[in-house]
């Protein structure tokens, strides 16, 4: 009986640990990377009708592609 309880306890512990690991992994996968944080914000009101690229890296790549240097618009959401 004691042996059965021990086995049952081990199974429950294993299941709980597995569940906790799965939850941790899913949370990690949903967390935006720091570079994506700016893109995730709604900049519509800031942008007006200008076709802005968000973020320096993406902006520089676009600038090189189009041959037009960056016009940096530094702003924040308050």
């Amino acid at each position: 009986m004691t042996r059965m309880n021990w086995r049952a306890g081990a199974l429950v512990a294993f299941a709980l640990l597995g569940g906790a690991w799965l939850v941790a992994e899913s949370v990690r996968a949903d967390e935006p990377a720091a570079s994506d944080a700016a893109e995730a914000k709604d900049w519509t009101e800031h942008m007006g009708k200008l076709p802005f690229v968000v973020g320096r890296e993406a902006g520089e790549a676009e600038a090189e592609f189009t041959g037009r240097p960056p016009m940096y618009f530094f702003t924040t959401t308050w």
Binding site: F52, A63, T66, R68, P70, M71, F73
Partner: protein, 194 residues
């Protein structure tokens, strides 16, 4: 600033003609503003291809003042030097716009294929994919119309379906729909026409 200057047509033209508008979230990127001496928001810095600051506009300024700054910076920046891929993309976009206006699916599909070949994510590719989706819907609707009208005039319907196969070549959804419809329409033809 954004509420007025960035919706002004002259400002939009002056900026997009010479610059790539890049929004930097100062909450996230704390390095770049410092490199360009920006410490208050909003601040706009126009740069040249070497990454050097040409002109700066700080805080909320009148539209006319911002336009003058953008135009002066544009003169300093000089004419754009686009990559070959960008030139190809813009040319294909112009071809696509013209084809859509003339309702010429075959030419539109050819232009979309060129844009897809460049394979660069962005507004031009997004617009091309949206146009492709619309063409598929139009093509499939045209096939359905031909099938519906085939009871009255199967010969004309067959001709229309074959024309759709040519016009929408490259759009497998439309091609498949037309190919699937043709045998049924052929069955409706008078014996002499088969």
């Amino acid at each position: 600033m954004a509420g007025s200057a960035f919706t002004n047509e002259d400002v939009i033209a002056a900026v997009t003609d010479r610059f790539t508008p890049v929004l930097i979230d100062a909450d996230v990127d704390k390095k770049t503003p410092g490199q360009y001496g920006a410490s208050g928001w909003p601040t706009v810095v126009f740069t040249n291809r070497k990454g050097e600051a040409l002109k700066k506009s700080v805080g909320a300024v009148p539209v006319e003042q911002f336009l003058a700054t953008a135009q002066a910076a544009g003169k300093d920046a000089g004419k754009p030097k686009p990559s070959k891929d960008y030139k190809a993309l813009v040319t294909a976009q112009e071809e696509l716009d013209a084809a859509l206006e003339k309702k010429a699916p075959a030419k539109a599909i050819a232009a979309i294929e060129k844009i897809e070949k460049v394979g660069r994510k962005g507004r031009i590719l997004d617009a091309a994919l949206a146009a492709k989706e619309k063409l598929v819907a139009e093509g499939k609707a045209a096939v359905e119309t031909a099938v519906t009208e085939s009871d009255a005039d199967p010969a004309k319907a067959l001709k229309d379906l074959k024309a759709l196969l040519r016009e929408y070549k490259g759009l497998s959804d439309v091609e498949d729909a037309a190919k699937a419809a043709i045998p049924d329409v052929e069955k409706k033809l008078p014996t002499d026409d088969k």
